[in-house]
């Protein structure tokens, strides 16, 4: 799996000439813009077909129902940008949700539970990251082991679903900010905050730029003297943390922890990130794009419910869309390689 060069080098934050900078940014933004076009096109098509689609209620629920996925996709963006993949996020989300529910039921105060859960997620990421970087295990296999471990451990926590009655966790979902029609829940606020933080880290910190560099060419990055080891482990830790946050969000969304939650969610997250314009070979993409990708996923899901079709069509459509995007990426990369 030789990683071909990405279409454009990620824009350096210190390119002096303003015009040059804007051109470069545009080239890397093309896939993201394509995702925006698809999203808008789907919204318009749905509006025309169903008559009443772009309503405040549906648009709000688009964010509310997919808040956990937005968080997961933000973390996944880091991993994919570095040229890796993290299959463990769905299972880690289930495990952290279980852990959260179990601790809350055992009477541990919420202020202790939330940090504990996030640390647990980070630990999973750390294990995977160390395996990937220091032992040269393929990201796919290392995160698979993490997925097994998290899924099995969540059953160790409890075989049955645990109901959550903690007012703070439930409040994340039930409190509605805004008007009756346009509303945000705290979970959505958290999700959007995660995206903003992710975008800031990726665009404006040394660590973020190192992640892009690693995705572009790991060897060059190492030769440049950038801290490859730290960044490579850290992307998996970040993915683990975001999986833990997603676990909290999902727990408040369903008001329960359950070990079978989030089976296949890792695939949804990967699909969302790729549809959002992040190159699977790493090195090019944006956190905002992943948000768009999740919204595309959400619109497909809602449309299929509206059509009254089998919910299995969601997966098929997402699979098809993922394929289309990957093929297009492949063509772009190949053309860039020829140049």
């Amino acid at each position: 799996m030789s990683a071909p060069q990405s279409l454009t080098p990620p824009p350096s934050s210190r390119v002096p000439a303003g015009r040059l900078r804007s051109i470069r940014v545009k080239a890397a933004w093309v896939p993201v813009l394509a995702a925006v076009v698809i999203l808008v096109g789907m919204l318009i098509a749905a509006q025309l077909y169903f008559g009443r689609f772009i309503t405040p209620r549906i648009v709000s629920s688009l964010f509310v129902d997919n808040a956990y996925l937005i968080v997961l996709a933000a973390g996944m963006t880091f991993v994919i940008l570095s040229g890796g993949i993290d299959l463990s996020v769905g299972a880690v989300m289930a495990f952290t949700g279980m852990l959260c529910a179990k601790l809350l039921v055992s009477g541990v105060p919420t202020l202790v539970v939330v940090p504990t859960v996030i640390v647990a997620g980070a630990l999973f990421g750390l294990i995977i990251g160390v395996m990937v970087h220091f032992f040269n295990v393929q990201p796919f296999i290392a995160s698979l082991a993490g997925m097994f471990l998290a899924r099995g451990l969540s059953f160790v926590v409890s075989l049955q679903a645990i109901q959550v009655k903690d007012p703070v966790i439930l409040g994340l979902q039930s409190v509605k900010l805004g008007t009756y029609e346009w509303y945000l829940t705290p979970t959505v606020t958290i999700a959007l905050l995660v995206i903003v933080v992710a975008a800031w880290i990726l665009g404006y910190t040394r660590f973020g730029r190192t992640v892009y560099a690693i995705g572009g060419n790991e060897n060059s990055t190492r030769l440049m003297g950038l801290p490859v080891a730290r960044a490579k482990v850290l992307v998996y830790v970040i993915s683990g943390i975001s999986a833990a946050i997603a676990g909290l969000v999902f727990t408040s969304y369903t008001a329960a922890g359950y070990s079978l939650n989030g089976i296949g969610t890792e695939l949804d997250a990967i699909a969302a990130v790729v549809i959002g314009g992040t190159l699977l070979t790493g090195g090019s993409g944006y956190a905002i794009g992943s948000l768009i990708g999740v919204l595309v996923y959400g619109v497909i899901k809602v449309s299929i419910t509206f059509l009254g079709a089998e919910s299995s069509w969601t997966r098929i459509t997402i699979g098809g869309l993922l394929l289309a995007f990957v093929v297009v990426q492949r063509v772009i990369v190949r053309r860039a390689g020829r140049r």
Partner: protein
């Protein structure tokens, strides 16, 4: 030759034997095989029979991995082939006739062969990474299977179909005979023709093998097809065992078990050299492990924890860092002693 065989397959066999010994100690009846009406029964026979679907899938997976690829869609393909053949049988007026069952099985397996070739097309012609190319079908495949069954779990009663998983032929379970003959055919195909060598060439260095005139595209393409075909047969066996097409649960996580079996058997995930014998042993290890865990009374849903631990241990033992670390530990360290003598002589040099 014997040395190569030893170094590669000896550890998996040792692990399998250790598991068998553990089982025999905890329940002495483990090794006993009884004969009733000319049919064999016993824990070992159960393991042989239950391992059949995994064996088929792992065989295909081993060859795909040898080309530096991976096939994540095998579980979904199992669900599809089961769904197709059971839907055909359920819709037919004569579910008990041999003809219906034969058509149903052929249709199911033919469809997964096509799906396997589709994977191969994406990987070898379009050039998408194998993980992603097969991920697409893994995502969409279960949806397709659900569409075929109409969202329900199709159940049937068909005597000839039930024979697949539960029947016996000349004393052995039919499913075991299917997997054994698949192993035999694939081994002959791979080791008695040039296919095996060419596959390894493609896996070791795709560019060099292409320059040497190996048609890597065709080889990779057909091996994904083979993987699909075998997954289809596995799906038939699975659905015959429960006599139902469960699109959501058929072959769930089997891709992970298959990859694990291949890796346990000593085939590196980096591609290249592969060993079918090791894969067979790996499958038996996993099946024995599963039945041991069930016997010990651990809830089956906790099984992934054990598998995760096995995966981590195996992967770490394959990594260069650990290997070189072990190598440094193992020999009598002439170099270390020399430096030690050096340092002592330099410190006590003045005294001497």
């Amino acid at each position: 030759m014997s040395r190569i065989l030893r170094s590669r397959v000896i550890w998996p066999i040792a692990a399998l034997l250790a598991l068998v010994v553990l089982n025999t100690i905890s329940r002495p009846t483990f090794l006993s095989i009884t004969v009733r009406n000319g049919e064999l029964y016993g824990s070992l026979i159960d393991i042989l029979r239950n391992s059949a679907p995994l064996m088929l899938v792992a065989l295909g997976m081993c060859l795909v991995i040898a080309t530096r690829g991976i096939d994540l869609s095998v579980g979904a393909q199992m669900a599809i082939s089961g769904a197709v053949s059971l839907t055909i049988i359920a819709d037919s007026p004569a579910p008990n006739s041999m003809g219906t069952v034969a058509i149903a099985i052929l249709a199911g397996v033919a469809l997964t062969l096509v799906l396997g070739l589709w994977n191969g097309f994406l990987v070898s012609v379009i050039g998408i990474q194998p993980i992603i190319a097969t991920l697409v079908l893994m995502l969409a495949g279960r949806g397709i299977a659900l569409l075929i069954t109409g969202g329900f779990i199709t159940t049937i009663t068909s005597t000839p179909y039930a024979v697949m998983a539960r029947g016996y032929v000349v004393g052995f379970p039919f499913a075991f005979l299917v997997s054994a003959s698949a192993v035999a055919i694939v081994s002959l195909l791979v080791r008695r023709t040039a296919l095996g060598v060419l596959t390894e060439a493609v896996g070791i260095n795709p560019a060099a093998s292409r320059l040497a005139g190996v048609r890597s595209r065709g080889i990779v393409w057909s091996l994904y097809g083979l993987s699909g075909l075998l997954a289809g047969v596995a799906g038939i066996l699975y659905s015959s065992n429960i006599m139902a097409a469960d699109a959501n649960n058929a072959g769930i996580n089997i891709e992970l078990d298959a990859i694990l079996a291949v890796v346990l058997g000593g085939t590196s995930l980096a591609g290249g050299k592969f060993t079918l014998a090791g894969t067979v042993v790996g499958v038996f290890i996993i099946q024995t492990l599963t039945s041991t865990i069930t016997f010990l009374g651990v809830p089956p849903s906790v099984t992934p924890v054990f598998k995760a631990i096995v995966v981590i241990i195996v992967c770490l033992s394959q990594s260069d860092r650990v290997r070189s670390g072990l190598r440094r530990l193992r020999p009598p360290k002439p170099l270390a002693i020399a430096t030690a003598i050096d340092s002592t002589s330099s410190t006590s040099g003045s005294a001497a």
